[in-house]
């Protein structure tokens, strides 16, 4: 039975590949596991040796110390405020503009659309210095406003929402038009409720982006008590003597990543769908 043998062989190869992938995944996770383990060990132990992937001896002192500190919780709060505000604003602004481009007819539509698409090609590095000068002129560095506003008009967000609105059957709007719904009613009561999946995806990506944003907060939030958690952690890295409070540093890293990892684990599906969506355009 040659065919039985080949399919048996296939099974074995399948298992081998899966085994190798699992092994690689464990290897992939090791740095994270190691860091988490260190964050749960007393500093005295870490001074002696950092080896080992299990938190023995176990302690929560590093986290308790962290919460007593003024810095990390404050940075976390800034990150939350900035990320949530940015996400909300991006969603509002993008869905409105996306709807206009997807479904409304108006003079200069093509030109305006091209102007927006052109923005896709401008990397942040091309504008962050003049932006910094501009915000300096307003005296607004080290404010939430400065951290949020330059990130609100994201062409890709408009693009995603536009793609989504275009996929909604036109007849729905025609039915609503016969039903005496105004443009605003159509947008608020028909289109927005339908766009929950797209809004969720865009929202998640914006939130993660906002949380991890580095270059702009680094140059705009220069006072330690206005740092976001990403910039704050960076400052710890360059200032702390690692051996002194290694456990505390590791705990800060874990603490800072917790919200975003949780968000990821809960909403994975939408994130993966979002990747597929942006690839589909």
């Amino acid at each position: 039975m040659a065919s039985a043998r080949t399919s048996g062989l296939r099974r074995v190869t399948d298992l081998l590949i899966l085994g190798a992938t699992v092994a690689f995944a464990i290897l992939w996770l090791l740095p994270v596991i190691w860091v988490v383990a260190m964050s749960l060990k007393p500093n005295a132990e870490l001074m002696r040796s950092t080896a080992g992937f299990l938190p023995v001896p176990f302690t929560l002192d590093n986290y308790i110390g962290l919460l007593k500190l003024d810095t990390v919780p404050r940075w976390l709060m800034h990150s939350l405020i900035v990320s949530v505000t940015m996400t909300c604003l991006v969603l509002v602004v993008s869905s409105m503009a996306g709807y206009a481009f997807a479904r409304l007819e108006f003079p200069f539509k093509k030109t305006l659309f091209l102007l927006m698409v052109a923005g896709l090609m401008v990397p942040e590095q091309a504008v962050f210095i003049p932006l910094h000068t501009m915000v300096s002129g307003w005296g607004l560095h080290n404010t939430h406003f400065a951290l949020v506003m330059p990130r609100v008009a994201v062409p890709i967000g408009v693009f995603l929402m536009m793609q989504f609105f275009r996929s909604v059957p036109k007849e729905l709007e025609e039915a609503a038009a016969i039903d005496h719904a105004s443009r605003l009613t159509i947008f608020l009561k028909i289109m927005l409720p339908l766009s929950v999946p797209a809004v969720t995806t865009l929202g998640l990506f914006t939130f993660i982006f906002a949380w991890n944003d580095f270059l702009w907060p680094l140059v705009s939030a220069t006072k330690a008590d206005m740092y976001t958690v990403t910039v704050g952690l960076a400052s710890i890295q360059s200032n702390f003597a690692f051996s002194e409070g290694l456990g505390a540093v590791m705990a800060s890293a874990v603490f800072a990543s917790l919200p975003i990892v949780l968000l990821f684990l809960i909403f994975q599906r939408f994130i993966v769908a979002g990747v597929a969506m942006s690839a589909g355009k």
């Binding site: 059957p169 007849e171 729905l172 025609e174 039915a175 609503a176 038009a177 016969i178 039903d179 005496h180 719904a181 105004s182 009613t185 009561k189 028909i190 409720p193 339908l194």
Partner: protein, 365 residues
């Protein structure tokens, strides 16, 4: 209540004319079906009446008022869409209430109308479900319910049954016909299905390439098609169109020579045919049947057993395919050369321009 008039209506996209000079009067309370092959402009015409497509030329009148420049919502029309276009995030009840809410109808009035519409359409058990949780037929009924709610003067249906399965299509057909009877409103219904057109319409409008081919009651169009296209479009199985040459003319009676040198007589309007004219003979399958003796002969290709009858497909000497009905008896063997007799019924004759020159008993065109 209101009638609809189209006066020389046309529409072009750039240089392409999708609707050409269409004139038509639809009476108040009439059920009119626009039918035609895909791309004939029937949906476009409907959407022009609805107000979703601009009008390039001519006038659309609803209830005697010119509505060319009027937005869809002000025209007093309701529309049932092919894909239902129900608001997916609203329950059936909310779908139906949406339009009335937008014009500020009192809540009690809305509830009363929903109850009434739900009663007519037997929707009561489904009112609090979302479209997702409804079957195709139920969605269709909700869509119709939504259309009823505002008590419009004119109902527009855009191929409303094409997404349903065959059995449901038949039952919804009857329901819509009943609804029309009950409401007495003007209804314009677009379909590509000639059976729907034949069964539902007070009058059928046959469209081709953006123009009206013929308008009339179903039976009138079936019995007296103005041209070969209309004859071919209505009736299933399709009418047999056989090329022929006029060999003799004697007043209204002509002799036609068909493929295989078959000779047969037909009646045409006096003076409409001359000896030697190339014409097309139209014979409905029901008047053609396999027999021992018959004018036409052809090679049998396929026999379809339908139960009540058999359809016998054959090829004439010049390659023309024909189909005939056999009620009772044994069908000829496949591959054999069979003869086909022509029974009582109209022998349609179309001239070289494919226009009917048939003389119908009782006169008329």
């Amino acid at each position: 209540m209101a009638g609809v008039s189209l006066a020389g209506v046309s529409k072009n996209y750039g240089a392409v004319n999708v609707i050409r000079d269409v004139s038509l009067t639809i009476n108040d309370g009439e059920f009119v079906v626009f039918v035609g092959p895909s791309g004939c402009g029937k949906s476009t015409l409907l959407r022009m009446i609805a107000g979703f497509e601009g009008i390039t030329g001519g006038d659309v009148l609803i209830g005697g008022n010119r509505v060319n420049e009027m937005a869809a919502r002000d025209r007093g029309v309701a529309m049932v869409f092919q894909n239902y276009a129900l608001y997916p995030h609203m329950t059936a009840r909310e779908n139906m209430a949406f339009g009335l809410k937008n014009i500020g109808t009192p809540r009690a009035e809305i509830t009363a109308r929903i109850d009434k519409a739900a009663g007519i359409l037997q929707l009561e058990p489904y009112l609090d479900r979302k479209p997702r949780a409804l079957s195709g037929g139920q969605r269709q009924r909700v869509a119709i319910g939504r259309a009823i709610m505002r008590e419009p003067d004119v109902f527009l249906f855009d191929e409303p049954l094409s997404n349903l399965d065959a059995a449901l299509r038949v039952s919804m057909r009857t329901e819509i016909a009943k609804l029309h009877h009950r409401l007495g409103a003007t209804m314009i219904y677009v379909t590509h299905d000639q059976t729907e057109a034949m069964t539902m319409a007070d009058r059928i409008v046959v469209l081709r390439a953006g123009q009206i081919e013929q308008v009339g009651a179903p039976i009138e169009l079936y019995e007296r098609p103005a041209n070969a296209f209309v004859a071919g479009f209505l009736g299933a199985p399709r009418i047999n169109l056989i090329p022929a040459t006029v060999s003799t003319v004697d007043g209204e009676t002509v002799e036609l020579v068909c493929p295989g040198d078959a000779r047969l007589m037909a009646k045409v309007r006096v003076g409409s045919a001359n000896v030697g004219d190339k014409v097309t003979l139209g014979l409905r399958p029901e008047i053609l049947s396999p027999a021992d003796e018959g004018a036409l002969s052809g090679t049998v290709d396929v026999v379809e057993q339908l139960g009540s009858m058999q359809l016998v497909y054959a090829t004439l000497a010049d390659g023309t395919s024909i189909v005939s009905e056999l009620r009772g008896g044994t069908a000829p063997a496949i591959g054999s050369v069979g003869r086909f007799s022509i029974g009582n019924g109209t022998r349609h004759v179309f001239n070289a321009e494919k226009l009917s020159i048939t003389l119908h008993s009782g006169g008329g065109a």
